[in-house]
Symmetry: C2
Subunit: 344 residues, 2 copies
């Protein structure tokens, strides 16, 4: 049996068409998602009910000819499974119990992560049986640094500055927190793969706040540790890394972490990526989500610029960041068709 | 008479020591600044009273052997002088009347900018007479895109996303707003130079939110227009550009805008800068302000990494972003001494 297009591309091979999926392809911009969401009592309950999460995962695949499904879940399930109180408040974003002392750290329980996240693995298994055989199923986790930012700051509004201060002023403590998170993330991704995920992606949404030295220590090193651990257990499963906002750091990340695919945000010029990110087997990205929201010829012209620069080598078309809630679903239809029709 | 060190460096020449100044070197971390600030009725009043602004400009030079003073002012004086209502609310940041329609645009009056900003030029003239002849005096302005973000969004909390949406959905309108701002910024910088500024810096704090295409159109092009206009009037005055968060875009910015100096934020690895930013005469930066807040040996070690990579060519030592309010003044003393003692 032929491998799925996205897997092929992540092995560094070209396929008959450029595959595409979109970060947050399941989400509030879809009316059927909003209806489904209303059935859960809160966002975590939604993530932990396999029947609902399976349906949310599959909804965009029913509408669009996307090349992959990504399990419907959230990066904060890992801190939650470690024993941290996590609450999603409407219109306010997540609020977490902070982890700022050695005592807090001792209470985190890596041992229980896989058991507590069993509903995620059941969702993956259910999606895999329903999903078209041509489509890849992607599992994911937040990267240690990004999870640490939420755990150190308690809410996302602080913008990573407090976490960065801790990474400098309490470096040993933050180092230990990162170690715990590396272990938990490996466990969570391993179980997702066992359940049926064929590709995994690491989201490092807060990679951009660190200085170059911090990026090396808190983004590159933990990511490399995770990739190595996963490759020992599942050498055949490709890993995509997404160090959002990493700018020039992407080049080192591509070389040093061992990821198969590098997802690049919209700030990175496609021409620059072509020239400087050749070390990685495949690139993913990098249309600005604002163009998808805008739609029309302007969106397709931007997509063509990216395809023109990067489509001649292994590329997974995607956004530079998640689909915005105000996006009209028809824009996704147009984009998917356009990317699939494109030829190098 | 020998040129001032910072000017020398911006001409691409090495000097006897690496010169240093710090963004927000005049500011809340200094007790004498807080005392002075209490004499003004609000922040704009503070900026517009030459006696106070002159003293604020000179305060850090009294404490530290810095190589430059930067006129105490704010980037939002330009929208204010154009006729936009600007208010600085305690603990909340600036709030502006938004400029979102053609009618709003018509009300902006470039003609009055220089007249309304006369107090800034008086401050510069006063500082120049008091400032040690060895020290350079830097004038500055916000870059058009960054000013446009504030004018389109009204407050800084929205994080540039609304402005980016406007740049895409109302491209022609935003283009006209940028044109007005180019003209106003040229006028304001020209007058600062006439009053005695020997170097000018353009702050583009919101450069990082744009995608690669937007960066080209809204950061690089207007900056080039400003640099060209200034060079026609004052060919001998160096211009420093600071496209904060621009990541890989810095390389094109360095080549295409014509700036003499490029200020780089902390995210950029010094080794990368050495390799890829050779087109510009001088670099400036790039110590993370969090290290200055931390102080001690760790701060000096980071400074040494930067000096080791970049000190062998023309460099103005600075931070990657402004001094944080919680910084202890002694840390600045230690940093300035350390940088001055360093030899390639």
């Amino acid at each position: 049996m032929r491998e799925k297009r996205i897997v092929e591309v992540l092995r560094g091979r070209m396929t008959d068409r450029v595959p595409i999926w979109l970060m947050r392809q399941a989400g509030r911009y879809l009316p059927e998602y909003r209806a489904l969401r209303a059935q859960a009592k809160d966002f975590l309950d939604f993530c932990y009910r396999p029947a609902l999460a399976t349906e949310a995962t599959l909804q965009p695949l029913r509408r669009y000819d996307l090349d992959a499904a990504i399990v419907f879940s959230d990066i904060l399930v890992v801190p939650h499974a470690l024993g941290v109180r996590v609450e999603f408040r409407e219109g306010e974003g997540p609020v977490l119990e902070t982890v700022t002392s050695e005592a807090d750290l001792t209470r985190l329980s890596v041992r229980k992560v896989a058991e507590r996240l069993e509903p995620v693995y059941r969702t993956i298994a259910a999606v895999r049986t329903e999903l078209d055989q041509e489509k890849a199923l992607i599992g994911f986790a937040g990267s240690p640094w990004t999870l640490a930012v939420y755990m150190l700051e308690g809410r996302s509004g602080v913008g990573g500055l407090e976490a960065k201060a801790a990474a400098i002023g309490k470096a040993a403590f933050v180092g230990r927190l990162i170690e715990v998170l590396v272990e938990a993330v490996v466990e969570h991704l391993d179980r997702q793969i066992v359940a049926g995920a064929e590709v995994v992606q690491l989201f490092d949404s807060w990679a951009g706040v660190l200085d170059a030295a911090g990026f090396e220590r808190l983004v590159i090193e933990p990511t490399r540790a995770i990739v190595q651990a996963l490759k020992r257990r599942h050498p055949e499963v490709p890993v995509i890394g997404f160090p959002r906002g990493a700018g020039t750091g992407c080049a080192r990340y591509a070389v040093l972490t061992g990821v198969d695919g590098l997802s690049i945000d919209s700030q990175i010029r496609a021409a620059w990526a072509r020239e400087h990110l050749g070390e990685v087997r495949a690139l993913q990205g990098n249309l600005d989500n604002m163009w998808l929201r805008e739609g029309g010829g302007a969106m397709l012209a931007r997509a063509d610029e990216i395809l023109g620069q990067l489509g001649g080598r292994p590329l997974i078309f995607n956004l530079g960041h998640g689909v915005l809630p105000e996006t009209r679903p028809e824009h996704v239809t147009a984009l998917v068709e356009h990317v699939h029709a494109w030829r190098a």
